[in-house]
Symmetry: C2
Subunit: 635 residues, 2 copies
C-alpha cells in the first residue's frame, strides 16, 4: 500500500516551497507610530527638517550677538527686553533678528532689561535648522525594519505615514474526529471521549512568534467542511495549515482536498518527525498538510514555515545556533533525516547535548527542550564526543545559570524547582530522570555535578555510599541527605487483587509494571526478588519498564497494571493503596567543585528550609529528620 507520493528530502521540499511562495507585494499606508517591527516597501524621505527652524538650545535670552560684543564683567551691556533681547525656553524658535542665546544663568533680568556681562558669539546655544534631519534626506531605505528609534526618527522628520509590507497571514485548521476543544468541554467529557486539540493553539503562538499574523478555525470533522473552509481561507491568507489528516487513515482527506482545489506539489518528506508533511498550491496560495502528532507538527512548522516566512516577508529570521558536544553515542536510522530535541548542559563554557524522548507524541519534551539537532539522512547518528551544531529554540542565557540534576526521580525535585524559581526567578533547576546508576555514571564522566540516588548495596545493606565509592573511589564528592522515603507496592484502591507482599507479584492473575534498568527502585526490586528466590520470568509484566514513579502510578490507577513498586507519595497522589516494603535514603551526590558554586548554597538553603521539609511531610511517606545533613565526604 502506497502511503505517500515519492518522498523527498527536506532541502528539496523547502526549495519547492520557496519556488511557489511569492514575496508579499501589497503595501499599506500606516500611521508611523504603529509601524514598529514592520518592513518598509519604499525608501522614506524626510518631509521636514529637525529642527525645522533655528531654535534655542537652552533656556535663556535670544539676542543678536553683535549687540553683546562690548560686554565684560566690569562693563555690562543692558539689552532691552522684547526689543534687543527675548526670553526663550529650550526649543523655542529664535525670534527674527537674533542669532545667539545667552544662558538664563548668565543674564540678570529685570522688568525691562537683561544685563549681560560676557559677549556672545554667532549661533551660541542655537540649534541649526536640520542639525538632526534635513528635509529630503533618505531616512531609511526600503526593506528596512522599523524599530523604536526609527519610529522616533521618522516622526522627527515629519513622516506621519509609511508604506510597509503587510504581515504574512496564516490560517490554522485543526481536523480530526478524535479531537475536542478543551474550552468547550468539561474535564470529565475530555477524559472519556477524545483527545484535547492543543496543536492548533501552540501552532498559533509559534506562528505569531515567527512573525506571522495567525488565526485558527474551529475543529473540522468532515471533508466537505474542510473544502469550504480552505476555499474561503485562500482568498484571505497567504498560507493555510491543515492539521492533520495527512497520513493514510479513513479520515485523512487533506490530500484530496488540495488536489480538488489546486495542485499538490509534494506529500512526504524523508524526515522524522514530520514525514507525512504535504504541500500544495491553491489559487496561488501555499497550503500545507502537517502531521497530527504534536512533535511532528512542531518540527514540520519549524522546518517549512520559517523559510516560508522569510520568503513572504523578504526578511531573515535571527536563528541562533550553538556548537555542542555529544556526551555519548546518538544512534539514528540511515536514509532518513532525524530531528532530536535536546537539553544543553553548560560546563566550563562548553555545551553538552542530552537528547530527550524521541517519541512524536511526547510533546512535553518539546516544551522542556533547549535546542534541536538534525541528523542528516546519510549518517547513522553521532559518536560520543562529536562536535555538532544545534538550533536554539529558547533563549540560551538561562542555560549557564541553571542547576541540572541527573539521576533518580522524586517529587522533591519539583518542590525544589518551584521554590528555587520563587526565590531566585533566574535560576531554573531541571532534572533528567535516568535512574540512580546511570546518574552516577554521568557524574563519573563529568557530565553532571549533581546526581540524585537511592541505591542499596546488596551485601552491606547500606544506601548510596558503598555504590558511589565503588564507582567514584578517588574523585572528590560530598553526599547530602535529602530525605528518607517509603518504597512499597502500589495497588488499586481497596487492593482488588489482594496483594500482601512481594511474592504476590509473581502470581498468574497479577499484571506487574516495572521500572527501568539502572534505577534504584529496580535494583531494590531485583535485590528483594533474589532474596525471595523469585525469578524474573515468573512475573507477568517484568519486561514493561517505566522511567518514573508517576508513570507506575498512573498505570496502576488506570488498571493497566495491578501492581508496581513506587514511593508512598504516589499512593496519595493517585488515591491508591500501598503496601510498605522498605524505607530508603534518597540522597544528593555533589561534586566538590560545585560545593563552591553560589548555586549550591542557594540549593542547600532550600533543602535546609522548614518550607521544604514541611512540603515533603505534607505529601507523606517521607522522613525529614536528617534532611540536609552531610552524610559523607570523599577525597
Amino acid at each position: 500500500m502506497k502511503r505517500y507520493l515519492e518522498t523527498i528530502r527536506s532541502e528539496e521540499a523547502i526549495a519547492k516551497i520557496l519556488e511557489h511562495a511569492k514575496p508579499i507585494e501589497d503595501e499599506e499606508f500606516l500611521l508611523t507610530y504603529l509601524c514598529t517591527g514592520r518592513i518598509t516597501t519604499r525608501p522614506v524621505f524626510a518631509k521636514l527638517s529637525n529642527p525645522p527652524f533655528l531654535c534655542s538650545a537652552m533656556d535663556g535670552y535670544a539676542a543678536s550677538f553683535e549687540k553683546t560684543l562690548d560686554a565684560d564683567l566690569t562693563t555690562p551691556v543692558s539689552l532691552k527686553k522684547n526689543v534687543d533681547v527675548f526670553p526663550v525656553n529650550t526649543g523655542d524658535p529664535l525670534p527674527g533678528g537674533t542669532n545667539a542665546v545667552i544662558m538664563v544663568e548668565e543674564g540678570e533680568e529685570s522688568d525691562t532689561f537683561v544685563i549681560i556681562r560676557k559677549p556672545a558669539y554667532l549661533w551660541q546655544n542655537v540649534r541649526m535648522v536640520g542639525e538632526d534631519i534635513i528635509e529630503g534626506d533618505m531616512l531609511i531605505p526600503r526593506n528596512h525594519r522599523i524599530g523604536a528609534f526609527e519610529t522616533g526618527m521618522l516622526i522627527a522628520g515629519g513622516v506621519t505615514h509609511v508604506h510597509v509590507r503587510r504581515k504574512p497571514a496564516i490560517f490554522i485548521i485543526p481536523t480530526g474526529k478524535e479531537l475536542i476543544d478543551i474550552y468547550q468541554m468539561s474535564d470529565e467529557t475530555i477524559k472519556r471521549t477524545g483527545l484535547v486539540d492543543f496543536n492548533s493553539y501552540f501552532l498559533l503562538r509559534l506562528a505569531e512568534d515567527t512573525g506571522f499574523l495567525a488565526e485558527k478555525s474551529k475543529i473540522v470533522f468532515h471533508k466537505d467542511e474542510l473544502r469550504n473552509i480552505v476555499q474561503e481561507a485562500v482568498e484571505k491568507y497567504d498560507g493555510i495549515i491543515i492539521n492533520a489528516g495527512s497520513s493514510a487513515g479513513s479520515e485523512d482527506f487533506t490530500e484530496s482536498v488540495i488536489r480538488e482545489l489546486g495542485t499538490l506539489i509534494f506529500h512526504g518528506v524523508s524526515m522524522m518527525p514530520g514525514k507525512p508533511t504535504m504541500f500544495g498550491i491553491i489559487k496561488g496560495k501555499t497550503v500545507f498538510g502537517i502531521p497530527g502528532y504534536p512533535v511532528s507538527a512542531a518540527i514540520s512548522f519549524k522546518t517549512f514555515f520559517e523559510p516560508l516566512y522569510e520568503r513572504l516577508s523578504s526578511t531573515q529570521l535571527h536563528k541562533k545556533y550553538v556548537t555542542c558536544i555529544t556526551p555519548y553515542k546518538i544512534p539514528s536510522r540511515i536514509g532518513i533525516e532525524e530531528i532530536l530535541r535536546i537539553n544543553l548542559i553548560e560546563k566550563k563554557g562548553k555545551y553538552y547535548a542530552f537528547p530527550l524522548a524521541r517519541g512524536a507524541s511526547i510533546f512535553s519534551s518539546m516544551a522542556r527542550a533547549d535546542a534541536l539537532i538534525r541528523i542528516p539522512e546519510h549518517i547513522e547518528g553521532y559518536d560520543e564526543d562529536e562536535e555538532i551544531s544545534c538550533e536554539m529554540i529558547r533563549e540560551g542565557e538561562e542555560i549557564g545559570r541553571r542547576i541540572h540534576i541527573i539521576g533518580s526521580h522524586d517529587l522533591s525535585l519539583d518542590i525544589l524547582r518551584d521554590m528555587m524559581k520563587g526565590r531566585h526567578p533566574h535560576i531554573d533547576l531541571i532534572s533528567t530522570h535516568v535512574g540512580s546508576l546511570s546518574g552516577i555514571l554521568a557524574f563519573r564522566k563529568g557530565i553532571t555535578e549533581l546526581c540524585t540516588t537511592h541505591v542499596i548495596d546488596e551485601n552491606e545493606k547500606i544506601y548510596n555510599i558503598p555504590v558511589i565509592k565503588k564507582y567514584l573511589p578517588d574523585s572528590p564528592w560530598t553526599l547530602i541527605h535529602i530525605a528518607k522515603r517509603l518504597q512499597g507496592l502500589l495497588v488499586g484502591k481497596g487492593n482488588p487483587k489482594d496483594i500482601k507482599d512481594i511474592s504476590d507479584i509473581a502470581r498468574n492473575d497479577v499484571k506487574f509494571v516495572n521500572r527501568q534498568f539502572g534505577s534504584g527502585t529496580r535494583i531494590l526490586l531485583d535485590t528483594m526478588l533474589k532474596g525471595k528466590g523469585i525469578t524474573k520470568e515468573s512475573i507477568n509484566g517484568y519486561e514493561r519498564e517505566e522511567s518514573s514513579h508517576t508513570a507506575v502510578g498512573i498505570l496502576v490507577k488506570e488498571s493497566i497494571a495491578d501492581v508496581g513498586v513506587a514511593i508512598y507519595a504516589m499512593a496519595k497522589v493517585f488515591s491508591l493503596d500501598f503496601i510498605p516494603l522498605v524505607e530508603e535514603d534518597y540522597d544528593l551526590l555533589v561534586a566538590k567543585e560545585f560545593t563552591e558554586d553560589k548555586r549550591f548554597h542557594l540549593l542547600m538553603d532550600l533543602i535546609l528550609s522548614d518550607t521544604f521539609k514541611g512540603k515533603l511531610n505534607e505529601i507523606g511517606g517521607y522522613h525529614t529528620e536528617d534532611t540536609g545533613k552531610i552524610k559523607y565526604v570523599n577525597g
Copy 2:
C-alpha cells in the same frame, strides 16, 4: 544657581530605583492560550493526563493480542469485526477488552471479518495513558516564561487557565510649550510654530519592546494639568514618565509636581546624555522626569527603565554585549559617565567601534547606531586599539553582511543603499561621512575596504589617483569611477547677493558656510582660494564647518548662509541657484581583497545598472558615461 539636587552616579540611581520599586504581586487568571510571553506566579500542575486514556497510535484494528497469537503467513486468524476487532483511527480510545492495534496495512478487511497474518504483542501501537503528561505532574514552576511550546504542553495537560504576572504598565506624559503633536497639525503649522513631539512616540515603542504595557497622554502644557494627570496615573500605572520639564527653565515644573504629590528621591545623575533625570515616589508608584533632548531621553530610558522592568516583572532582559575595538582614540570628560552611540564594523570576526555624533539632539544617530558604549566617569576616554564592551541596541546578525563605506558624501550612496536593499533585502549599505581624506586614512589603517573620494591633486590637477597613490603606494587597491559631478556655489533663489564667482565669497556682505577639514570639497575650495590669492580670514563664515552637501544646502535655503560650495544636486533638491565651478570625479576606492567578496559584485551590478545611472541623471549635475569603469589598479 543650583540646578539639581546633589548629582549621583548612575549605579547609585539604579540602586535607589530598585529599592523603591516592588515586584508586581497581582495575579490574573488568564486563558492559557493567551499567555504566551507571560510569567507564571504559581506552579502549574497537569489536570489531565495526555493521553487521558489508552489510545491507538495508528490507523488500524484494535484487538486483544491474546487472540492473534496463532496467526502466521500461512495460517491466518480471522477476527470478527466489532466483536473481536474494532477499526480505529489514530487517537481513538482503545475499545474495552482490547490491548493492541494492528496497522491498517496488516489487516485484510471484509464486511464482517479482519484477517491477520502476524501475531500482535501486548500494547502494540497503543499509546499509554500519560505517556506525555501525567495528571498531577508539575508542568512548569512559578516565575516561568510561557512560550509557544509551554502553551501546547499546558493545554495538553488540561490547563485552561493560568495565573500569570500582570505586565508592568507605564504611562508617558509629554510636556513642553514648544511641542506640537504632528498628527494634529499641517506641515506648514509645524514649520512655523513648534517642535514635533516624537519622544513620546518612540518612548512608547521602546517601552513595549522592553516588555511594558505602555500608554501615552496628549501633550501637557500647564503645571496644574500635569499634577492632575500624574495624580490619576499613579492609581493605574506602575511607572510614570514625565518628559521633560526636568531642567531649570521657567516652565520646568516636573520636580515641583513630584514634590507636591510625593517624595523626590534624586534629581540629577552624573551621566551624559541623561543628566537631568529625576526620580520620585508618589503613592508607592515610581515617577520619573526624564530629559527633553531625545537622545538623553532614550539613554535615560535604557539606563533606568530596563532595570525597573526586571524588578517589576521578576524577569531578566536578554541584553547582548559584544567586545569591540576602538579604531582611534575616543576622548571623554573625566568626572561624568558618558554614553556614546556607535556603529560597528566587522572585519575578520572582530568588531570595530565608530562613535556617531555625540549631540543629545541628534536623534537620527540613535536610529543609525548599532550599539552603545559607556565610558566610566573615572577615565578620560579610550585609547586607540582598546578592547571594550558595547551593548547592542539592534540585532547583530546584519552587521557581518553589511557593506560599510567610509569617505565622502554623495546622494548616489543613498540611491545605492535603497537599490541594494531592494534587490538584496539582507544587505544594508551604510556610509560614514568623514570626507575623502579621512576616508583614505581609515582605508590605510585597514578599518574600511571601501572609500568614496573626490580629491584633486593641486599640481597634477588629476582627481583621486595621485592622492591615493601617495597614501597607499604599496597596498593593492582598485579605483572604480562612480560619476562625474558638478561642484559650484550654492546661492539663494534668484541669487539675492548677486554672487558671480569664487571671489565674491570674500565680500563683507556675504555670509559663507564651509565644509569640514579633510573633505574633498574643502580641498577644492582651498585650492581655488589659493589660486585666486584669497585669504581664509577675509571670508565671513569660513570657520563654520558642515559635514555634508545637504547641510550646506539647508543653511543656504534658510538664508542662514548666503553661499556655500556643494554639488549641483543640492540646488535642485532645495530649489536654489547654482554657479558651476568644476566637474570632478567621484570615485570608489576598493581594497583588492574586497573585490573577491560576493558583496562587491552585487554592488558593481548596481553601479553598472541603467537604473542607477538613470537616477543620477534624473537628479542632474552628474555625468555617467564612465560610471562603473575601473580607473586604476594598484599592486
